[in-house]
């Protein structure tokens, strides 16, 4: 051995490539909803412990993203949208992604347990397990309902945030979970209706391709109808209030109108206006989630001055 020698790989992965494994955009939604779950809880949390808890939730979510990218590298390579991800583009080796995913999962769960409580840590562990194993390894390639059940993984963060503060699961945290869980299918299917996807080529069963666009439109309206009582119901719990309820009524009417418009359209309508309605409903769905959780935060802030809630 005469010298330190590097491998022949011409590209050296940098921190940005490893960070991309954590799906930063998904992480931002997780941080926001997890933070709301923590802040609206009736038990105050020390700011530093709250910060560490949110960091653990974000890193745990990122770790599940890395495990997902490790498992789905073959699918990602075959789809235009995902072909540029770190593994299919060759910037990061699959083994590295697996190692980072497992290590960060372990760190985030153990640290959350030490910093807060075992229930919160268990929920974080279950979220990672659900996304990486139940969704990525099993459902995604098996059923067109993959997005429905898989959406649960994205719905856990506010429940974890609530558990960090209270050490328990209650009707409020279950309804926050249900809000994201029921919102995910219409949100995703609105996107699937206007994005020209290559899921079929990658062998992933997506509702638009397995059952057609008409069935997908029906699914959008049905799931939106199921979402409305959850969103309104949350307004009558201890974390709801007049501000939340007003926001919920307006946003649900808006979303429902959009879902109805999608339901009544045909492929010819979509071609004629280049999916104008679907694109609009997708945007509304983003405002929808942000507005609901933002309103919960406003209620919590008002409660500090004795004017929030019922």
């Amino acid at each position: 051995m005469s010298d330190i020698s590097a491998t022949d790989r011409t590209y050296e992965a940098n921190m940005g490539d490893y960070f991309a494994l954590l799906k930063p955009r998904v992480m931002s939604l997780v941080v926001f909803t997890g933070l709301v779950g923590l802040l609206v809880a009736p038990v105050p949390v020390h700011p530093f412990i709250g910060f560490v808890a949110i960091l653990c939730i974000a890193v745990g979510a990122g770790a599940s993203g890395a495990l997902n990218m490790w498992w789905d590298a073959d699918i990602d390579a075959r789809m235009k949208r995902t072909a540029g991800r770190p593994i299919p583009s060759g910037r990061v080796q699959p083994g590295e992604a697996l190692g980072i995913g497992l290590a960060l999962s372990g760190f985030s769960v153990v640290l959350l347990a030490l910093a807060t409580n075992f229930l919160a840590a268990f929920l974080l562990f279950f979220t990672i397990f659900f996304y990486a194993v139940i969704y990525s390894m099993w459902l995604k390639r098996a059923t067109p309902q993959n997005i429905v059940i898989g959406g649960a993984a994205g719905a856990f963060p506010p429940m974890i945030g609530w558990a960090v503060a209270t050490g328990s699961v209650s009707i409020e945290s279950i309804l926050m979970f249900a809000l994201i869980f029921m919102w995910t299918p219409p949100h995703f299917w609105a996107l699937a209706l206007f994005v020209k996807s290559d899921y079929g080529r990658a062998g992933v069963p997506m509702l638009t391709e397995t059952h057609g666009r008409d069935v997908t439109r029906k699914h959008v309206i049905v799931y939106t109808l199921l979402l409305v009582p959850v969103a309104i119901g949350l307004g009558f719990t201890s974390i709801g209030g007049p501000v939340y309820l007003a926001v919920a009524v307006i946003m649900n009417a808006w979303f429902l109108k959009g879902a109805y418009d999608i339901w009544t359209r045909t492929d010819a309508d979509c071609e004629a206006d280049k999916h104008k309605v679907e694109i609009k409903v997708f945007k509304v769905s983003l405002y929808y989630l942000f507005a609901h959780f933002g309103a919960l935060l406003i209620e919590a802030a008002l409660r500090l001055y004795g004017i929030g809630g019922w």
Partner: protein, 67 residues
Amino acid sequence: MTIQVEHEIHERRKGRNYGVGLLLAGFIAIIFGLTVVKVLQLGDVAQFEKFDHVARPQIIPEEGAGE
């Protein structure tokens, strides 16, 4: 036969090495911060001794009062 002090790999992996360094420093800061917060939350810092490796019954007021 000696390992060169300066090697091109040092330059090439500089960003990564600094990144790992920052992550480790952040991790230490988090553990230290958590320790400070947890100890202060005990109220009476002497209570911290209860978690020592040696049993100290005299610092538990009820049991230590009669001694």
